[in-house]
């Protein structure tokens, strides 16, 4: 158990929790190889940001995620007020995020950072999905290619993708 000033080790705790419940060990994604690297070319104040959130956000009128490895994406207009953003996910307490979706999908705050000039702009659409996908294979073979397709279909220059997991 870590001391209180350190981050919670969710890998250790989940391992303990699953073991106590008699479950198979959960397999976290481990990628020790040095990650790919695309240098940033602009300061934040000149950057167009793409928000990608995996907290299970969707827009009223869209079909909600199911909870069994749903690998679907939802495009959410970036100027959508977060009050019209809904949240569904099986693995975290939803009440706070349903009360204020900005804590997992910070659209309102990013729009305010644009107004303040801290960042330049947002892509017209932001992208959401439900990150509780137990299958690494389906994440890599279904979700990621679909996400890259959606981003390419935006046909907009993106200076930085801000990825917000839960």
């Amino acid at each position: 158990m870590s001391s209180s000033s350190e981050p919670v080790d969710y890998i250790d705790r989940t391992r303990e929790q699953y073991s106590a419940l008699g479950y198979e060990p959960y397999q976290w994604a481990e990628r020790p190889e040095t990650p790919p690297w695309t240098p940033l070319t602009k300061p934040l104040a000149e950057s167009k940001i793409l928000l990608v959130g995996s907290g299970g956000a969707y827009k009223k009128g869209q079909v909600a995620y199911h909870w069994k490895d749903d690998t679907g994406l939802r495009l959410i207009p970036s100027h959508q007020p977060a009050t019209d953003v809904r949240v569904t996910h099986f693995a975290y307490d939803l009440e706070p995020a349903r009360s204020d979706p900005n804590i997992v999908f910070p659209l309102d705050r990013l729009n305010e950072l644009v107004e303040e000039g801290f960042i330049k702009s947002l892509t017209p659409q932001s992208i959401a999905f439900m990150g509780g996908i137990y299958s690494i294979r389906r994440t890599e073979e279904e979700l990621i290619p679909a996400l890259i397709n959606e981003i390419e279909a935006m046909e907009t220059e993106i200076d930085l993708a801000l990825l917000v997991p839960v």
């Binding site: 981050p7 990608v52 907290g55 079909v63 705050r109 950072l113 890599e140 930085l160």
Partner: protein, 126 residues
């Protein structure tokens, strides 16, 4: 989200992962990550605390975009509370240390859409 970051970066898109789960992010090893010491479910701040949410985002964006070495998880020093006792109770799943559920806290997983409200279902099915 670490795998998503690696894949996007490989296609030429710069990424920054905002994370409250240091060990999970470190294992997936995305190019740039900014760690905030927040409970699960509160990655981007506290509900209805607009100033804190903006401080969190500004701090994470500044710190994260300053990363020069691929695979860095930078500590933003943003934290939920000066009282760290929530961490002793936190596990993954619904028991995030802030709410008080116990035992097996994961909800049943089905392939039926899980709407926030009945009104949402009607709007989607209209």
């Amino acid at each position: 989200m670490g795998l998503v970051a690696r894949a996007l970066e490989a296609t030429g898109i710069s990424t920054l992962v905002l994370t409250a789960a240091h060990s999970i992010t470190k294992a997936a090893n995305p190019p740039r990550a900014a760690y905030v010491d927040m409970p699960l479910g509160y990655t981007a701040g506290k509900p209805h605390d607009e100033e804190f949410q903006k401080l969190l985002l500004r701090t994470a964006l500044d710190a994260g975009t300053a990363i020069e070495s691929p695979g860095t998880v930078i500590d933003t020093a943003i934290k939920w509370s000066n009282d760290p006792s929530w961490k002793e109770r936190a596990s993954s799943g619904l028991n995030n240390g802030v709410v008080s559920s116990e035992g097996d806290t994961r909800s049943d997983r089905t392939d039926i859409p899980q709407y926030q409200s009945e009104e949402d279902r009607e709007a989607a099915e209209a």
